[in-house]
C-alpha cells in the first residue's frame, strides 16, 4: 500500500504539471483567438480621387471597417456588400487635403450587384443632378468610380453606372456611360 501511495504521490506533481501545461496552451490559444477578434483583420481599399486640376486621378489607401480580402480575390457571397462599402468610402471623399472629391454631396449608392463580371452600381439622382458639369469634372467622377472598383476587385471586368435604377446616356452631357466601362489608365497618376 505504502508503495502504491508512494507511486501516486510521486506521479501527482507530474500530473499537475501536465494539467497546468495543457491549461496554459489552451489559455494561450484562447487568448490569441481573442486578440485576433479584438483587432478585426483590416482590409485596405485603393480609392481614386481628383487632383486639384481635375486632370488626373490619384490613388489613396483607405482602411476599411470590413474584411474584403476574399472579395478582392474572387467573387463570393460578400462581393456586393464589399463593393457597396468601397463606394461608400469613395463618396466620403479624400483624407488628403490636396485631393478633391469626385462624387457630388448628397449622392448615395442605392444598390450594387454583379452579373457576368460586370458591377452594376445604382446611384441616387444627386450623382447627375448635383454634378458640377464639364468634361473634366465628368471624367473624374466616372473614372474615379470605375477605376476604384476595377482596381480593388480583380474579378470585375467592367462597371455600369445606373441612376435611380435607370440607364443614362451621360452624367453631364459628354462621356458615354450607356454601356459598361473599363479601366482608364490614361488619367491615373501616382503609385
Amino acid at each position: 500500500m505504502s508503495r502504491r501511495k508512494g507511486r501516486v504521490s510521486k506521479a501527482f506533481p507530474f500530473l499537475i504539471a501536465i494539467l497546468l501545461a495543457c491549461g496554459g496552451i489552451a489559455g494561450y490559444i484562447v487568448g490569441t483567438r481573442m486578440k485576433v477578434k479584438e483587432e478585426v483583420p483590416i482590409s485596405v481599399a485603393r480609392l481614386y480621387f481628383s487632383d486639384p486640376q481635375a486632370e488626373f486621378l490619384i490613388p489613396e489607401e483607405r482602411k476599411m471597417g470590413l474584411d474584403i480580402e476574399a472579395e478582392k480575390r474572387g467573387f463570393g457571397p460578400g462581393t456586393c456588400k464589399a463593393i457597396q462599402a468601397v463606394i461608400e468610402e469613395l463618396i466620403k471623399g479624400p483624407s488628403s487635403p490636396s485631393l478633391a472629391a469626385t462624387i457630388p454631396k448628397g449622392t448615395t449608392l442605392r444598390n450594387a450587384f454583379v452579373s457576368d463580371h460586370i458591377a452594376y452600381l445604382d446611384f441616387s439622382k444627386e450623382l447627375k443632378t448635383k454634378h458640377c458639369g464639364g468634361s473634366s469634372g465628368e471624367l473624374m467622377t466616372v473614372y474615379s468610380i470605375v477605376n476604384t472598383i476595377l482596381d480593388n476587385f480583380r474579378y470585375i471586368k467592367g462597371v455600369k453606372i445606373l441612376i435611380e435604377g435607370m440607364d443614362v446616356e451621360t452624367l453631364a452631357g459628354h462621356l458615354d456611360i450607356s454601356k459598361a466601362l473599363t479601366k482608364n489608365d490614361f488619367i491615373v497618376k501616382g503609385p
Binding site: 457576368d116 464639364g134 468634361s135 453631364a172 459628354h174
Partner: protein
C-alpha cells in the same frame, strides 16, 4: 467697289400657299465683291433651308422651308454683276424656291444662317474652290444649361456665343458651308448633334464647350477626340458579357471596314484637335492641358473628323470672369477658327491622312 441693291420678295400666291404660320421672307439683298457675290435672305425667324448647285444649268437653287415672301413684292431681280444674272423667287410646296442664275458654270457656293437678325447668307464665289462643310456644335442648350460659374454664368450661353463668332469668322475667310447644330437657346440631343454632321456629309465636327471641375483651382484649355483604345476595350467587354453566338463572316467584314474608316477618321480628328489646341493655347496664353482622348457621345456618333474643345473653366472664378468678356470670346473664336482653317489648308495641300479621306468623299459624291 461694293455694289449693293435690294430685292424685294414677292407676295404672289401667299393666300394659296396658306403657310401663314411659317416664317416670312421680308426681303433679299445682294452685294458684289471682287471674288464673290453675296446674297442675303432676311427672315422673321430661322427656317431649315437647302442649297442645290445646278452646274449644268448655271444655276443655284435655294429652298427656304416653311417660309413665304412678304406681300406685294417683285418676283425677280436683275443683278448682272458679271457673275450673277438674276434672282427669282416662287412659292412652292413646303416653302419658297429662290433660283439664282449665273453667267458661268465655274462657281462655288458657301452658305450660312445667322440668327440675329434671322437671315440666310449665300456667297457665290468665282471659279471652283474646295468648299468644306463645317459643323459647329455649341454645347448644351435649352433645359440643359451645362456647367454654371460661381457668379452664375451659364455654359450654354457662352458656347452659343463663341460658336456664332467662329461661324462668322469662317464665313468671311473661307468658301465653306457653316452649319450650327443650334443657333438659339434650345435643347438638342447628343446623338442628333452628331447626326447633323453625318447627314450633311460634313468635313469636320467641332463641338464647343466650357469646362468645370469640383475644385475651383482647375484651369486651362484642352481638346478631346474620340478614343479608339477605350472603345476597343469596351467592345471586348461587350463580347465578354454578351452571348457566345457570333455569326461569323459578315460581322467580321463589316468590323474590318468600320475599323478602317474609323482609323482614317481618327487621324483627321487627332490632326484637327492638335491644330485647334495649338491655336487656342497660343492665343489665350493659359494653361495648356493638351489634346486628349475620351469616349464622348458626340464624338463617338460622328462619322467625320470630330473634336470637342473645352475653352476654359467656368468653375474657376478668374476664368469665369474672362469668359464673360466679349473681347476674350472673340479671341477664343479667332483661335478656334484659325485652327480649323489650318486643318483645312493642310487637307487641301494633301496632308497625308486627309488625302485618303478626300478621295473617299470624292467618290461618294
Amino acid at each position: 467697289m461694293v455694289r449693293s441693291g435690294f430685292l424685294i420678295a414677292l407676295g404672289l400666291a401667299l393666300a394659296l400657299n396658306g403657310a401663314s404660320e411659317g416664317a416670312t421672307i421680308s426681303g433679299a439683298r445682294y452685294g458684289t465683291y471682287p471674288d464673290r457675290t453675296r446674297i442675303v435672305f432676311d427672315l422673321d425667324s430661322l427656317v431649315p433651308f437647302k442649297v442645290k448647285e445646278l452646274r449644268g444649268e448655271k444655276k443655284v437653287s435655294v429652298i427656304l422651308e416653311n417660309a413665304s415672301p412678304s406681300e406685294g413684292a417683285p418676283t425677280t431681280a436683275s443683278i448682272e454683276d458679271g457673275l450673277v444674272k438674276t434672282i427669282t423667287m416662287e412659292v412652292v410646296e413646303g416653302g419658297t424656291l429662290a433660283t439664282i442664275e449665273l453667267v458661268t458654270d465655274s462657281f462655288t457656293v458657301s452658305y450660312f444662317q445667322l440668327p440675329s437678325p434671322p437671315r440666310v447668307v449665300l456667297d457665290i464665289w468665282k471659279g471652283k474652290r474646295r468648299s468644306f462643310t463645317i459643323v459647329l456644335d455649341p454645347g448644351h442648350g435649352g433645359r440643359d444649361p451645362g456647367a454654371k460659374g460661381p457668379t452664375g454664368l451659364k455654359e450654354k450661353d457662352v458656347t452659343l456665343d463663341i460658336a456664332k463668332r467662329v461661324a462668322e469668322i469662317l464665313f468671311e475667310k473661307t468658301s465653306d458651308r457653316i452649319i450650327l447644330t443650334r443657333s438659339d437657346d434650345r435643347f438638342v440631343g447628343l446623338q442628333d448633334r452628331a447626326a447633323i454632321a453625318n447627314e450633311n456629309n460634313a468635313d469636320m465636327f467641332v463641338s464647343i464647350h466650357v469646362n468645370a471641375a469640383p475644385s475651383r483651382a482647375a484651369r486651362g484649355v484642352e481638346t478631346f477626340y474620340q478614343s479608339v483604345s477605350l472603345v476597343e476595350s469596351s467592345r471586348l467587354l461587350e463580347k465578354l458579357g454578351g452571348s457566345s453566338y457570333d455569326p461569323k463572316g459578315r460581322a467580321e467584314v463589316s468590323m474590318a471596314i468600320e475599323s478602317l474608316l474609323k482609323s482614317k477618321m481618327q487621324k483627321g480628328s487627332v490632326e484637327l484637335a492638335i491644330s485647334i489646341q495649338d491655336e487656342l493655347s497660343r492665343e489665350l496664353g493659359v494653361e495648356n492641358r493638351g489634346v486628349k482622348e475620351a469616349m464622348f457621345v458626340v464624338l463617338r456618333n460622328s462619322e467625320v473628323p470630330a473634336v470637342l474643345v473645352e475653352v476654359g473653366f467656368i468653375s474657376n472664378p478668374s476664368e469665369e470672369e474672362k469668359l464673360k468678356s466679349q473681347a476674350y470670346r472673340d479671341r477664343i473664336a479667332k483661335a478656334i477658327a484659325s485652327g480649323i482653317i489650318k486643318f483645312r489648308e493642310s487637307a487641301i495641300s494633301g496632308g497625308e491622312g486627309s488625302q485618303a479621306y478626300e478621295q473617299e468623299k470624292g467618290q461618294g459624291q
